[in-house]
């Protein structure tokens, strides 16, 4: 006769095991789409290149710099931007909607694991492939635009940590946004609004110091700054140790906020889902 009860490893170890397995699986799946990845990557590289050129032109016409930011600074900013942008991609609200519609979510609910772990793990694995594919783009852009870049070791370390912090915060926020689909089919609209506000106040459109003062204050109160501007500035700016520490602390804070948001939205959402769809 068989045994039903198989000995199980402890919880944290099991979770790490899951993440590693899922990330490995994600890398395998993504490597299959190398060509597609490139088309898509090239598509959004156009965005920072445009910003870069516009501000460099403004700088040249203003005697070499804009508010003290030189063309070399802009080049560095927007090239590092491409990596940070890559780290920012997560589960879109459309994918959420599709999951609910196609019953994939039900399959996930049958498993003894919170579905967010799938997404965090899969996208994390994907990021490694993305980083790998990004390197030639970064090299090419550096040759074309001559960035001024001279980071210290500390700055590189903080940057490496910060980009994953950014990934985490944004993924949690997007996930919480995705749960809105439990209540409405128009979740996409809310998502777009989020993305637009983020575009303007995260440092994605312009380095935050170029925004009017009131906008900068507003940006300081929102999580977006710490998912975009902070990692970039950590690497290319001249932040003091205190400022670097503060940035990481803010990331921890917003990660906690994101986690709480996900926990609340998910519990409410699943109650609604299980009452109606299943």
């Amino acid at each position: 006769m068989s045994t039903f009860s198989v000995a199980q490893p402890g919880r944290p170890r099991a979770l790490v095991d899951f993440y590693l397995t899922a990330m490995r699986t994600a890398v395998q799946a993504q490597l299959q789409y190398r060509v597609n990845n490139y088309f898509w990557m090239l598509g959004w590289v156009a965005e920072p290149v445009i910003y870069l050129v516009v501000w460099t032109t403004v700088a040249e016409q203003s005697g070499g710099s804009v508010d003290g930011n030189t063309a070399g600074y802009f080049a560095a900013y927007y090239i590092v931007w491409t990596l940070v942008r890559n780290m920012n991609f997560g589960l879109s609200t459309y994918a959420w909607e599709w999951r609910i519609r196609e019953g994939i979510l039900s399959g996930q609910l049958l498993r003894p694991l919170h579905p967010i772990h799938y997404d965090l793990a899969f996208f994390a694995g994907w990021k490694f492939v993305a980083i790998f594919l990004w390197i030639p783009i970064a090299v090419a852009l550096s040759l074309l635009f001559e960035p001024t870049l001279d980071p210290s070791v500390l700055e590189i370390v903080v940057f490496a940590v910060a980009i994953w912090g950014a990934y985490l915060i944004r993924s949690l926020n997007l996930w919480a946004l995705g749960t809105v689909n439990f209540w409405t089919t128009r979740g996409a609209a809310l998502s777009e609004l989020y993305i637009v506000v983020e575009l303007l106040l995260s440092g994605r459109l312009v380095p935050l110091q170029l925004l009017p003062a009131w906008a900068q204050t507003l940006a300081g109160l929102l999580p977006f700054k710490w998912t975009f501007y902070f990692p970039i500035e950590a690497l290319i700016g001249d932040l003091s140790r205190a400022e670097l520490a503060k940035g990481l602390a803010m990331q921890v804070f917003w990660t906690a906020v994101g986690t709480a948001l996900v926990a609340v939205m998910w519990r409410r959402g699943i109650r609604r889902y299980s009452a109606v769809n299943g």
Binding site: M1, S2, T3, F4, V6, A7, Q8, P9, A14, D17, F18, L20, T21, A22, T25, Q28, A29, Q32, G103, I104, S106, G107, L109, L110, R111, P112, L113, R271, S274, A275, V276, N277, G278
Partner: protein, 327 residues
């Protein structure tokens, strides 16, 4: 002493379905006031299942079978009544509960689409926290039982429907669940594959003593596997007992669907005419008369096509429970 694996007591599930007539006026009205209609998907069912039983839920589409399974696996919250599986309340979705059950739905796949099934199995291993050694043993045993050794290395999207179902089942059983919920597992599959999956389920149950709840609208599924049958219709249980009682009734009849060349005369002398559509006539005849009636039809008429089949489940219900069926 009840060590019942599944305990269901007066379980109900009601849905509020929005209802709207066609037309612009109705559409505008519905913006202000939404009319809903109450659908009783499951209308007070009760039963108990002992460990190791294979129970078949039989019923036509929309009878409440899938809804019941979803409630028992924790996907759907019951509106009323109580359900317990392995002592747990399913809707609480406790980790221990989820690790001991599995739900397989025909036509739905839970494996990674673009990767070989083996990779998805690894994921399941991590999710269910199976130690490597145990996992490999279980996995290899299942692969052998279902004979999918060469299929598990191919991306799932490249497999046929039947092959996909088999690897899905492997994936669903890796964590050695004690309770198997199988929702229409043979739907859309060809006859050979249906047989194979049925024999696998029987063998698995015998070898490991897992409890199986199987829903189907194919009588053949139930006949092959279940000693006990629960017939559901309109969300209510019409019959809960040994298959034998039911099989006798079903086995007693056959339907003959015949397409005639030049119009059909009165075929009522051959058997009960249950359906007529131009040149296509469906007859119901007692089983022992099937051969004789068929021979007579072929001799006396120009027959274009002729099919002998088991009566569909709806007919069985009509036959057996005519007085309780109140549609």
């Amino acid at each position: 002493m009840t060590d019942a694996v599944v305990l269901v007591d007066d379980l109900r599930k009601l849905f509020d379905v929005p209802e709207r007539e066609a037309g612009l006026r109705a559409a505008t009205k519905s913006l202000v006031r939404r009319k809903t209609r109450e659908v009783r998907a499951v209308d007070g069912i009760s039963f108990e299942i002992a460990p190791g039983e294979i129970v078949g839920f039989l019923g036509p589409n929309g009878a409440g079978k899938t809804t019941t399974l979803k409630m028992l696996s924790g996907l759907l919250y019951p509106t009323d009544g109580e359900a317990r599986v392995l002592g747990h309340v399913p809707s609480k979705r406790e980790r221990e509960f989820l690790s001991r059950i599995t739900l397989v739905m025909g036509n739905r796949n839970q494996l990674q689409w673009d990767l070989p099934a083996l990779d998805s199995f690894e994921l399941n291993r991590a999710i269910y926290r199976l130690p490597q050694v145990d996992f490999r043993a279980i996995r290899d045993e299942l692969i052998e039982l279902l004979d999918v050794g060469d299929l598990v290395r191919k991306p799932v999207r490249n497999l046929s429907l039947g092959e996909r179902m088999k690897v899905e089942i492997v994936g669903a059983l890796l964590h050695r669940p004690r309770v198997l919920f199988l929702d229409e597992p043979t739907i859309g599959l060809d006859v050979t594959m249906q047989k194979r999956i049925r024999s696998f389920i029987a063998a698995y149950n015998e070898r490991h003593g897992a409890t199986v709840l199987l829903t189907s609208h194919y009588m053949a599924d139930v006949q092959a596997l279940c000693r006990r049958v629960i017939v559901i219709h309109h969300g209510r249980i019409l019959y809960d007992g040994p298959l034998v009682g039911l099989a006798d009734t079903v086995a007693a009849w056959k339907t003959i669907a015949v397409v005639l060349e030049n119009g059909a005369g009165d075929l009522s002398g051959f058997g009960e005419v249950i359906h007529r559509d131009g040149d296509v006539v469906t007859l119901r005849v007692p089983k022992e008369q099937t051969a004789r009636v068929t021979a007579r039809l072929l001799a006396e008429y120009e027959v274009v096509d002729l099919n002998v089949e088991d009566p569909p489940i709806e007919d069985v219900i009509e036959l057996v429970f005519a007085q309780e069926d109140d549609s």
